[in-house]
Structures are given as C-alpha cells and as structure tokens.
C-alpha cells in the first residue's frame, strides 16, 4: 500500500520547503524505526537474559537437566531436570488441543455458515467473551467447581474404560491431568474458533454457490468448498492454540497436583507443567532455585517459539489468511 506513495525526500532541486520537510521527517522516521528495532531487541533480550541467569543454576545442578525428573533445586546439592515438567506440559496441551479443536471448528462453522446472519456477529462476540475471562478466574472456577465435578465422570471412565491405559490406574481424583487439560481446552477454544471462523468466511463464495447450485446439501457444500480451503487455516489456529496452552500458567497451577512423575494415567493424581511449576515454586526459591526456574522458562520459551513459528510459516504461505491471525 505505502509502496505506491511518491517519495517525499529528494527531487531535482532541494528547495527550502524540501529542506524543512526532511528536517521534520528524519527524527520521525528515526523514532518509528527505532521503536521497531526496540521490539526486536526485546525479543533478543528475552533469550539472552534467560540464558545468562540460567547458566549458574545449570552449573550447580548435580544431575542432567534434560533427563532428570525430580525438582529439588533449593537443596545444598541441587537436583533438578525438565523431564517430568516438559512431559506434563506437552501432554496436557495435546489433550486440550484434541478436545478443543473439533468443538472450535464446529463453533466456527456454526457462526460462519449455520447461524442466522443477524445473530452471527453477536454469537461470535459471545465466544470471544470466553477469551476475555482472565486465566486466574478459570483457575478459581476449576478448583472450586470443575475439580469436584470431574470426580464423577473420571470414576465412570475408570470403571468402564479402565482397560484403555490412559484411563487406568487405581486412584481416581479430581485434581488430575484430565481436569487441567479440560480447563486449557476451554481457554484455547476461543482462539482456535476465532481464526477458523475468519478463514471459513473467506472461502470463495462462488464455489459455495456452485456447489449448492449443483444440488449439494449444506454439509456437502461445506465439505467440498469450505473445508479444503480452510484446512491450512485450521491447522495454524490449532498450533497457535497449542502454543497458548503450553504457556498457560495460573489456571493450571491451581489444578495440577504438582508431582514430578511421568505417567500416562490422566485420571490419577499426577501432572505438572513448566509454567505451573514456576508459579508454584517461585515463592520459596533460593538463588539456584530461581535460576532453575528461569532455565525451565527458557525451555518453555523455545518450545512455544518453535510451535508459533511453525504456525506462522503455514499461514505465511497463504497470503489471504494474513488478516485472520492478526
């Protein structure tokens, strides 16, 4: 857009007004460029300072950071590792994604293709409200309502589907990996739904009308004209939701039982995540403890960076989606 503008500086003869023009322009241009550079510098600084403060703690560690499961960084002989935390982060986010994506796609289709036109924007706003609820409120709701509530369904799953390993185990509790994942799913649903909705709305109208004109039902039209067009957008939306779920802290900090084990039994009292561990462990952390938490934060930063970059690369290939993810 801005590329079509005429150049303001220069010209054949540098008149008085042209001089004044550039005199005002230079500082303004400099300021706005500098702001952009500040943004880049902040991103670089995040990586640099996390590394700088993590190194002393990693050197004091008496175990291997990447494979150790336990987290005892405040002892005189610090032992800590990212193993169990990274496992919990990935598994809980993945479950949240599996639960949230189908519902979010359904919601997006509902708003883009099923709901009456007049209602659609209002209903879309209702879903956006889900994103406006602060995460600590989800945490409070999770602890006081969802945790006791989930005991019933969890026991049911354990009784009847216990032969599936993830639902197995002897002790079933409300404060489980499953409950935390469900809260995460609720929190990432509006993000996935909003991006998918934008993408579905951009599906070429002419193809939709062609499908309907050929006698397709609404579902056949969606399957043939909307979903193939929207697939990369939905994948991007899911990845962005995954990144958000991994970084989510407070809601799950209140729900996770904060153990340091690796177990696929999502109904049993185990589960933790990098972010939840930082929130829960920061209060009593010593110097090495803080360094250890910063080291774990660095791992989280790198993981979310990879997930988000992947999402952006998918979207970058389809220019028409660019607005949807903004």
């Amino acid at each position: 857009m801005a590329t079509s503008l005429p150049k303001t500086e220069g010209g054949p003869a540098l008149s008085r007004s042209a001089y004044r023009r550039s005199r005002g322009d230079v500082p303004f241009r400099f300021l706005s460029t500098a702001s952009g550079v500040v943004l880049l510098a902040i991103m670089a600084a995040i990586a640099v300072f996390l590394v700088v403060k993590a190194i002393p703690a990693l050197q004091a560690n008496t175990s291997h950071f990447l494979t150790e499961l336990t987290w005892v960084p405040n002892a005189t002989e610090p032992v800590f590792g990212i193993g169990a935390l990274a496992f919990g982060t990935v598994i809980s986010s993945f479950i949240a994604l599996v639960v949230a994506t189908p519902v979010a796609v359904g919601v997006a289709l509902f708003i883009s293709h099923y709901a009456p036109r007049r209602l659609a924007s209002v209903l879309g706003y209702v879903i956006d409200l889900l994103a406006a609820v602060p995460s600590v409120v989800y945490g409070l709701w999770g602890v006081t309502f969802l945790v006791p509530f989930m005991l019933g369904p969890s026991t049911f799953l354990n009784d009847y589907l216990g032969w599936i390993p993830i639902f197995g185990g002897d002790s079933v509790v409300g404060k489980s990996m499953l409950t935390a994942s469900l809260v995460l799913a609720i929190m990432i649903l509006p993000i996935i739904a909003a991006i998918s909705r934008e993408v579905f709305l951009q599906a070429p109208k002419i193809q939709e009308e062609a499908a309907l004109a050929l006698g397709a039902t609404r579902w056949e039209m969606i399957r043939m004209a909307v979903l193939p067009f929207g697939r990369p957008g939905v994948i991007t939306a899911a990845l962005l939701g995954l990144g958000r779920a991994m970084g989510e802290t407070i809601a799950v900090a209140l729900i996770f039982p904060a153990t340091f084990t690796i177990s696929f039994r999502i109904l049993s009292p185990n589960g933790n995540s990098i972010a939840a561990n930082i929130a829960n462990g920061f209060g009593e952390a010593t110097d090495v403890g803080r360094g250890a938490l910063i080291a774990s934060g660095l791992v989280l930063f790198v993981i979310t960076l990879v997930v988000n970059t992947a999402a952006r690369l998918i979207i970058a290939r389809r220019k028409e989606y660019a607005r949807a993810a903004a």
Partner: protein, 294 residues
C-alpha cells in the same frame, strides 16, 4: 452420465447426514457456551456475597486467612497503576512501530523481520515475560520487586497487540488522503501525524483498549515481578505491590471459606474491569465504524 429432467428429492442418506452435521455444529456451539455460562454464573453468584463497600475500600493488612472481612483496595490500586504504566510504555512503542511498518517499511527486510517477530511475540507465554523482567530488571540490574517491574512485563505482552491492531487500522486509511496531503506540499511526517493517525484514531483506541483488557487479567508475570503484599502501597516504583489477579490467586489457594469468598469477589471485580474495558472498546469501534461513517 444421464441427463435428468425435474428435481428428484434428496436421498435419505444424504439428508440424514446433512441433518446430523447440522446437529453436531449446533451442539458444538452449545458445548462452548456451557463453560462460559457456568463461569460467569459462579463468579456473579459467589462474588456478590462480599461485593460491599468494605471490600472496595480496605486492604488485607492485619487480616489473617481465617478472618472474615478485608478487601482488595490495595490490589485494585495496584492493578490500575500497573496497567496504566504498562500502557504508557507499550502504546507509544507499539504505535510508532505500526507507523514504521505501514508508512516507512515499504516491505523491506527490516520491516518483514519486525513483522515476523511481532507475530512471534504475540505467542510469548506471559510467564516467560515475567521471567525475563525478573532476570533482567530484578536479578541483573538489582532493582526491587515493584509495580513498575510488573508494568514492564505487562508492556511486553501489550506491545504486539497494539502493533497489530494499529497496523490494521493504518492500512485501512485510504491512500487518496495521503496523496492529497502530499499534493498540498505537506511533509510526510506531518501527513502521518495530522491526517493518517487522526483518521485511524478510533480504531487505534479500540485496539489499545482490547490490549489493556488482555493484560489487566494477567497473573503469572505479576507473580514474579510485583510479589505479594497485604498492605496498601500507592507507589508503583518502590516495594512490593498487589494486583487484583494476584489477589484472586493468593486467596483461592487458601483452604478457608472466607478466603474463597474473597477470591470470588476479587474475580468479579476483575471481570467487571475487563468487561468494562472491552465494552468501551466495542462502543468506540461501533460508534465510529467506517461502515457507519459511509
């Protein structure tokens, strides 16, 4: 292929499938609304119990976990100051970055890089922003825990949101306006300051309000930078402060019923603040939407 004359009714299978999918889509929306209704209902019904004058005007000083009473005045003050400071840092930087991307960048290498990293920055987990300020501001520079440190962390989360929304608004400004201004001999920077930014003003304000609403509910970065206090601290530059989200987090971790009640009321206050900001943003954008202006 056979040429058909007249319209045959849909086969039962196709009709059933179509109806089934329609049912699923409606069900998905209903499923999504259930938690929202549940959360809002619980916040309102439980939060109203303690939503009184004492809650809004008193701090938690000298109030033990088991004691009833107490309030969140210190937390409300802290949140307002922290969010205001964060906006003062993030809005100018975000605005100018957007101006660079739209007016000066011209799709060059630097602008593409900034644009890419703004996207990546949107995905930085809030706790990582908190850890960064902890590592940089508090551990390396030796500054104390303070409301300002929290504001720094919040501003990192605000910046990309402000950049993206402002950028979108600036791109909506018709090029004819810029060209008309140039044709009158107005220098580029004055064109931006006097023509482009005022035209996009309401849209920018909406974006800023939404960014503010987003960070007002953030807890994780405050936990690492603002720390906790039960007393009123009106100075955001000295000593630990409190924030409303932190207050809710602290109280909801306690087993006592009076603490949980305080947490709910804190949550209600927080949601009211966030919703109010959201509503103001929507009203501004509706009031001055391009469609209405015609």
């Amino acid at each position: 292929m056979t040429v058909q004359t007249g319209i045959r009714p849909l086969s039962v299978g196709r009709r059933v499938k179509d109806r089934a999918v329609q049912g699923l889509v409606y069900l998905a929306f209903a499923i999504a609304v259930v938690p929202l209704v549940s959360v809002l209902w619980m916040v309102i019904s439980n939060g109203l119990k303690r939503f009184d004058i004492e809650f809004l005007t008193h701090s938690m000083r000298n109030i033990g976990a088991r004691d009833a009473g107490g309030g969140a005045y210190h937390a409300i003050i802290g949140t307002l100051e922290q969010v205001l400071l964060a906006s003062l840092i993030a809005v100018p930087i975000g605005l100018l970055t957007a101006v660079y991307l739209v007016e000066y960048g011209n799709g060059g290498r630097l602008s593409r890089m900034i644009s890419f990293f703004v996207d990546i920055m949107t995905g930085v987990p809030s706790i990582v922003a908190g850890l960064f300020v902890l590592a940089f501001w508090i551990l390396v520079l030796g500054m104390p825990f303070s409301g300002f440190a929290g504001a720094l962390a919040l501003s990192i989360l605000m910046m990309p949101v402000v950049v993206r929304s402002t950028e979108e608004m600036l791109r909506l400004v018709p090029n004819e306006l810029r060209e008309a201004s140039f044709a009158l001999g107005v220098p580029k920077w004055r064109t931006i300051a006097k023509v482009v930014l005022p035209t996009a003003f309401t849209g920018i304000v909406t974006g800023v309000m939404l960014a503010v609403a987003r960070v007002a509910g953030e807890t994780a970065p405050l936990l690492l930078t603002v720390f906790f206090t039960d007393s009123i601290n009106e100075d955001p530059f000295n000593g630990p402060q409190m924030g409303l989200p932190l207050y809710v987090f602290g109280q909801s971790g306690l087993p006592q019923d009076v603490a949980i009640d305080r947490a709910w009321t804190g949550a209600l206050t927080l949601i009211l603040i966030v919703m109010l900001l959201n509503l103001v943003a929507r009203l501004i954008s509706w009031w001055r939407s391009p469609a209405k202006r015609g």
